[in-house]
């Protein structure tokens, strides 16, 4: 009976029903915490104390969104249980978008170039260089973060003839590249071992026959790369771009160390700072925090909603690899 559905078989109908119930519970648990943040963001701070287990918004209000997204009068904010020290979520979301977009563009493009070299070019020491690149996978980020921080801080980027003018960047008065967007992107911008490995595997799978015609036409590697390999790899590039974007959006350790200034502060760091400034002991501003948290999740949720199938496929693909 179940073979018709293309999936395995489960003994009895009862067993099947129980299995579905378990799966439903798991799905419910996966959504619940996010739903709970949404519910709390629409409640008041006094409301959630009155009815802590009410699954619907208590004393339903949009004021939390007003104070997290806008700048209402301080008295109203304090009356709602806020500190007035709410950060601008939109600014942090903007910063995250800048950093994540920059990293994604750089990483996907430069790693595609490297992957092409490893998949298609013959040169001495190719396997050695590739293995060396891959070995970077085992290096814990905190290990390289310590010297990277010193490097970024002392970096006065000079190209020999002229010092690059970075004064237009927010926070560029800070030491070196600390508290600048380039500084936040730099460690992930040029390469990650995973991205190169991922694309190389894909390029190796592309039939060489397609390139033969171009080779006969005398196309050089540049043209083969841009005109044949890249267009044929769009699905893999998109998949990698999604993974890179999500990873960059979720990154905390590096921006926490290198980008604390509000002008460049990304969402993860801003949220953590917001929590830290809320006096945790007496009456935390839960509704403000949950509103900010939910707003910060929206871009990722949207991305997931639109590209969910690709993300799921990408995960499963990486599982078989």
């Amino acid at each position: 009976m179940s073979t018709a559905a293309g999936v395995g078989n489960v003994g009895s109908a009862t067993g099947r029903r129980i299995a579905w119930a378990v799966l439903a519970v798991v799905m419910l648990f996966s959504i619940l915490p996010v739903f709970w943040a949404l519910r709390t963001s629409l409640s008041t701070n006094s409301g959630i104390i009155l009815e802590p287990s009410n699954p619907l918004p208590v004393e339903a209000t949009f004021f939390n969104y007003e104070r997290v997204l806008g700048d209402p009068p301080i008295e109203e904010v304090q009356a709602a249980g806020g500190t007035g020290g709410e950060f601008s979520v939109l600014l942090a979301v903007r910063n995250s978008m800048i950093v994540a977009t920059g990293i994604t563009i750089g990483q996907v493009f430069f790693c595609a170039m490297a992957a092409y070299a490893f998949a298609r070019l013959r040169f001495k020491g190719r396997e050695l260089v590739f293995t060396l690149f891959l070995s970077a996978l085992v290096v814990p980020p905190i290990f390289t973060m310590i010297p990277n921080f010193l490097f970024m801080r002392d970096l006065q980027l000079s190209l020999g003839f002229t010092s690059l003018d970075l004064s237009w960047l927010p926070g560029s008065d800070k030491a070196g590249w600390i508290n600048t967007f380039p500084g936040l992107m730099a460690p992930f911008f040029l390469m990650t071992p995973f991205a190169i490995f991922f694309l190389r595997q894909f390029f190796l799978g592309i039939s060489r026959e397609v390139e033969e015609a171009a080779i006969i036409d005398g196309a050089g590697h540049m043209r083969r790369f841009f005109r044949i390999i890249l267009p044929m790899s769009v699905p893999a590039l998109v998949t990698l771009a999604i993974i890179t974007y999500v990873n960059s959006w979720n990154e905390f350790l590096w921006p926490f160390v290198a980008g604390r200034d509000e002008s460049v502060r990304v969402v993860t760091v801003a949220l953590n700072d917001f929590k830290a400034q809320t006096p945790g002991t007496t009456r935390p501003d839960w509704t403000g925090l949950m509103t900010a948290t939910f707003v910060a999740a929206v871009p990722i949720l949207l991305l997931f909603g639109v590209l969910g199938r690709r993300v799921v496929d990408a995960i499963q693909f990486s599982g078989i690899k």
Binding site: A5, R122, I215, T268, W286, A297
Partner: protein, 322 residues
């Protein structure tokens, strides 16, 4: 057509031939390859290789983050100090507890979930829903659960009250903070891990199960003698990756487990995992930058050894299957 193509292919082949030859043509290869590799080579040198060498050098120095130029060489002192550092051993122990709870529960749940899904459905909605926690930033997840575990307004406390128990401040309790943090990451990673296993299960031929059920094997027997052995390579690989990630837990502890500001590693250092301790030494304590580098070096060596051991296990598994 054929006559036209043949000489071209021939000339192409003859042009290819010397490439397999000696170094002169290999250098030719580099002339092209360098342009493709330049950005990633710079990235690798500047952000992986040189920092690795620099971190190891720092680990033999006494350095203040404010003035790294005034570093003094101290030989093995940082390492010998670490061996006698009670806070280090505490953080190692705390991290180990975290890893065992996290990986233990997560792997079992994910495996069960994957088997369940492979028998029931290939629905994208189901897979996307259980993947949702994974796609959210760790910090955000930490904050969600900070609220959920809150002893006064959190929902877990209400469930406790409903069943007549006293609510527990899980994240402020020296006993419960690590299990609670581990469970938070179980929530975050179970669906993801289950999808990896699910992908592995898809590669097991269905006829094996059909043959099994014809022979009258029970579900459990089939699970033990078909699913587990055939899934073992992926099982092992996923566990290596999860294990290494788990040892590096930081974000969730920062957000939900006492955090990195104010009094780090609360409550009473019981949530001060290794990453947090390294961070504190590097950026909060005075003159401990080199010490932090030494701690990070030890962690890196430890993780490398684990990886190599597991990879050897993996290889053994694959030959088993072949």
């Amino acid at each position: 057509m054929t006559t036209a193509a043949a000489p071209v292919a021939g000339s192409d082949a003859s042009a290819e031939k010397p490439k397999r030859g000696k170094s002169s043509v290999d250098n030719d290869g580099w002339k092209v390859a360098i342009w493709f590799l330049l950005p990633s080579l710079i990235g690798f040198l500047v952000f992986y290789l040189i920092p690795t060498i620099r971190a190891i050098r720092l680990s033999f120095q006494k350095v203040s983050i404010l003035n790294p130029a005034a570093a003094t060489s101290v030989g093995w002192e940082n390492y010998t100090d670490i061996m006698e550092d009670a806070d280090f051993w505490n953080s190692a122990w705390v991290t180990l507890q975290y890893v065992v709870i996290n990986i233990g529960i997560q792997t079992v749940l994910a495996l069960g979930l994957a088997v369940l899904m492979s028998r029931l459905t290939e629905s994208l909605i189901v897979r996307a829903t259980i993947l949702l926690p994974w796609i959210l930033p760790n910090i955000l997840v930490g904050l969600l659960f900070l609220f959920i575990f809150d002893p006064t307004v959190g929902i877990v406390a209400q469930v406790f009250k409903f069943f007549g128990f006293d609510p527990i401040a899980f994240l402020a309790s020296t006993t419960w903070v690590i299990p609670a943090l581990a469970l938070i990451n179980v929530w975050k990673f179970t669906g993801y891990t289950a999808l990896l296993f699910f992908a592995g299960l898809q590669t097991i031929p269905k006829m094996l199960y059909e043959a099994g059920s014809i022979d009258g094997a029970t579900e459990w027997q089939m699970f033990r003698s078909i699913t587990i052995p055939l899934l073992r390579p992926i099982l092992a690989l996923v566990m290596v990756v999860s294990l290494i990630g788990s040892f590096q837990v930081f974000d969730v502890v920062a957000a939900a487990g006492g955090g990195v500001q104010g009094s780090p590693g609360d409550p009473l250092g019981k949530s001060r995992v290794l990453y947090l301790y390294i961070y504190e030494n590097a950026f909060l304590f005075q003159n401990k930058f080199g010490y932090a580098a030494a701690l990070a070096t030890i962690l890196m060596i430890f993780l490398t050894v684990i990886t190599l051991l597991q990879l050897r296990l993996l290889r053994a598994d694959q030959s088993d299957l072949a």
